[in-house]
Symmetry: D2
Subunit: 347 residues, 4 copies
């Protein structure tokens, strides 16, 4: 019997990709999609899926999310942190659904970080330790009793996959993990803002949220979770492309460590991971991963510096794809089920 | 003594380009810029001009336009038709300034066309015959007594320059002038609309306002003004680029007319026109004209069909540059004064 | 038992897409890929497919195509016309494989057209009438005895699907079918030419092969094949995007014909066609079809003019996807088998 | 009397921009342009300048460079290092012209660096100390007796301007200057390579020459020249845009150093420099500088990290514009002469 699943916030970029992934997932029945913006519209009409699926489904109001979730197995929240922080506790208490939250609302542990980086006091600190941080290649399958999965941020996924094994292996110094990140425009979500208009973004590049991006503490905590923390410096840039991001991480090698040791470390870490490919650093590119749940990782080094590069699609492995991967693992389905094709956001 | 000029609506794309052109124009003193959106801000800070100029100027409210215009020689309106239609009559009556209106508010003559294409009843039909349609290469310098210059639309400028001489020369049939047009995104103005966001526009192309675009009657009237009217079909498309447009016009040659006759006709029409270059049709491209006040025109033909192509920058020859050209001619300055460089819109 | 298939010329853009389609097609075993450029390389390494498939396959030399084809059921030629024109006759005579040729070498009938548009004398006019022109939505499944399928050109597919039913229905005049076409850069194939470099193409648009493109006679012949010919005018333009094309066709309605009649005609023509979607003309866009085997078609009209727009992906419905569709139909497989996902060209 | 100047290699991207700058420079007569690729063609026809200038000039063969240089005041070499390394000594010995070399052939001092990074043994080490490294904002005007000016690399210019004053001021630690750089495609020059084709570059980003780019020793030497060296880490990335680059430099602040100290340091360093603008780090973007000789610099910091960002146009301040600036200063012209407008590369 297929899992019954629903999506809250299914008309944004991540939500659209998630709807299209779930619509063609053989182990799933997509029973509801909410979107205040498109309330009442046909989901198939809005998303124009390539294949069948989504027929008959209409967007419902976000306010109906709680009641719609009564009978489902999984609720995905493709919503902003400020929506998730309100809705997750109510879903937790009033339903039996497992919750996969794509926002940052339950990814951190330190309450001060929410104040500093998200600009709110977290109302439910009790739920933070109960949220499983769902980056399967590093932390494995969600535990059987995990009601709430905090789906990782796009930058954090790339940064952690390219650095955490190197840190834990002892091959690099622990003084500083420096990540220079570059993301396409869908990273900002579907927005009617002049800043993201074609004329503003094309032929431009700039840094943003310099030293103040909310994925900074998420990456630092992720390193700790994997067994070896380190101070994190993080600066993102906005690229004139639609999908995908690339992180360039800078570390310092321990004495005597060679490039091949680092490559071997990554190869071992991801030997049996279907979505991570370790390749030459100069072949880690956005085009190769766009539309897919893949991550390309590569490392280069000399005696003074380690450069570890990762690329992924922010909407797939950085959001909707990883959410499906978490669902697959949480329910004992094949990890790659529904994730071996390409996705697009709604036209 | 320099001309004293002002701009109403100086923060949009056309207005920005106009401000930067006028700031470096040697025959002009730019005395005011209005913009409700940026009221109070430094113009130089907003437009970040490459060279000097604009220092000390601050945007003022659009509502101040009338009083600010009291002492100037020229007022440019880089505003929407609905703003111009209200402001132009008041400027006409309360000031002595010459008015150069970049909107479509005074370009047409037929009142029904305003209802059909602009969706309003024109409140001042008396002013329509008093507006000079300012496309100098076809209709010459504005008359000495022209108080109001209707600056042509971007598509109309390209379409007319590539077809009007061919029609008047008698080389082509008069049954139908068919124009397939393609424009970059600045053609839609500076807007915070999802439709013009990078993710929506990049890697896409579509037609819009199919058979209902407001430049259709403007082109038809322009042909008549040049001495030989014809029915006009016009379909525009939105391109994934920032600046520039290309029109591909289809006509039928009269019997015996050869390609060389058509080229000779265009060469003769533009022999002494500094901004029009007649080149091979396959060399008429947007990149060559972007940022400039130039128009590239080229024609190809066989026994059945004439294809006449034109490219220009919608913000310069299609808007601000042509407005400056009209000012130059109206006041006896050199036609190219201030127009021999490149422009950009504000960063 | 799966069909055994091979691809000649599998490293270009169309060939790459074809390899990835066939690698994941459930009714097919891909037994060889040739490419002189990548001879000896791993196909999976070159194409980096998202899912499994292609493992173990290595490119072989094009010169091996004939011997490799001995035991296969279908050979696809993703080669230039000058290669196909030499290889097809040899495959025809020395093997029993059905041949699906993606080039223009066998699409036409008139030998003069080959001289005019392809610049060669066709060496095997005897094979031209034996080639089935494979545009299934118009001409149905390939006949059981069709050894050679000429897979249609990308522009021709779009132009024919948007106009042929209107012509045959008698709703439009027959004097002239005018097609203004716009294509992304993959239309030119994978090439190391300065003309297709990023810096030359970005922010540009221009017409090319004005009135001399080789799809002109192909479209004209396609209309005749569908039962109602007409003179064709065709002008293509190069767009700054990667995949997809849009054709804007201009016709004249017969007296009394309304927009709804035209829409109804298209809806009826494509009622049971899985890959053609009839939508509002302003919703026919490249983004909606990119990566897919879909065609979007829409029509707009007033009393004087009919505008019929079509969009498709030049590499899929305009090349590799349609080739697979032809194979499916020729062998009695489901028409959509292997064609309900997204494709990409090799990274 | 105007300076008589010539350009060797005037048809590449930098050479084109240089020709257009010199053609409209009021203190200069451009007497020759060489280009083997365009030998014999009209320069104006090839470069299609916006304004007048370049009329009558035709490209000559590179082999004529030496004899053409006999009577000129300045020769610009917009050539590859392997051409410059051969030609510069001959110009030095056989002419009296001052030489401004845009390649890297004479920028370094350490012969091993040429072997490591440029892959050749430098044939004329005696000339290296006689070359003036021409980055005026840091090292002032070329000395009166400087026959040879090594025009800095594009990345090096940005990296040095954003870091050298901070290092010399003692505000930051000297352990490591880490520069993550991102450049548009013109940085690779005008090339017919598949790697730089539109389809390969669009929607992609990747690192290249990781830890092995030839600007690494140039930046390190530039810091020393300014009075305070430090180890340099440098990784460049290829952006899907045409012009401009951005460097993000990471440093560590000395104890107690605040963001405002760093900003004040940069403001003081560039107080009277017409081409450098110190702005907020998030406003340092490529679009603001594209086409101009401007550099935008901004700095952000917390207690652990300093992030100093710079943006410039690789073809102007990173190549041709800076070359003109060096000429202006070397000959006592106004520093900004001919450099206060926008430039484009040839269409």
């Amino acid at each position: 019997m297929p899992l019954r699943v629903g999506i809250v916030g299914a008309s944004g970029y991540s939500g659209s990709v998630l709807a299209s992934l779930l619509a063609s997932h053989r182990g799933v029945e997509l029973v509801f999609c909410t979107s205040d913006k498109r309330n009442g519209e046909s989901v198939a009409e809005a998303l124009q899926p390539v294949g069948p699926g989504l027929r008959g489904l209409h967007f419902e109001a976000n306010s109906a999310a709680l009641s719609l979730s009564a009978g489902v197995d999984v609720v995905f929240l493709a919503t902003g942190a400020e929506v998730s922080i309100d809705l997750v506790p109510r879903l937790w208490e009033s339903t039996r659904a497992r919750i996969i939250d794509l926002s940052g609302a339950f990814r951190l542990r330190n309450l001060d970080d929410y104040v500093t980086y998200y600009r709110f006091e977290h109302p439910r600190p009790d739920l933070l330790p109960r949220a499983h941080y769902g980056l399967p290649e590093l932390y494995g399958s969600p535990p059987a009793d995990a009601r709430l999965i905090a789906n990782p941020g796009c930058y954090a996924t790339a940064a952690l996959l390219s650095t955490a094994p190197l840190l834990r292996s002892g091959l690099v110094e622990l003084d500083r993990v420096l990540i220079d990140a570059k993301s396409g425009v869908t990273g900002a979500g579907r927005q009617a803002k002049e800043d993201y208009s074609f004329c503003e973004v094309a032929e431009d590049l700039r840094a943003y949220k310099v030293l103040s991006h909310q994925h900074t503490p998420e990456i630092a905590l992720g390193l700790e979770r994997f067994g070896q923390g380190a101070p994190v410096v993080f600066v993102p840039h906005l690229l004139p492309l639609r999908r995908g991001l690339l992180t360039t991480a800078y570390l310092r090698p321990k004495a005597g460590v060679r490039r091949d040791d680092l490559i071997a470390c990554l190869r071992e870490a991801y030997a049996d991971k279907p979505f991570v490919r370790v390749v030459d650093a100069s072949r880690v590119g956005i085009k190769a991963v766009a539309g897919t749940n893949l991550v390309y990782v590569g490392v280069e080094a000399n005696g003074e510096t380690v450069v570890s590069v990762a690329a992924l699609d922010n909407l797939v492995k950085g959001a909707a794809g990883q959410a499906v991967q978490n669902m697959n693992l949480a329910f004992g389905l094949a990890e790659t089920e529904g994730l071996d094709g390409l996705t697009r956001f709604a036209p």
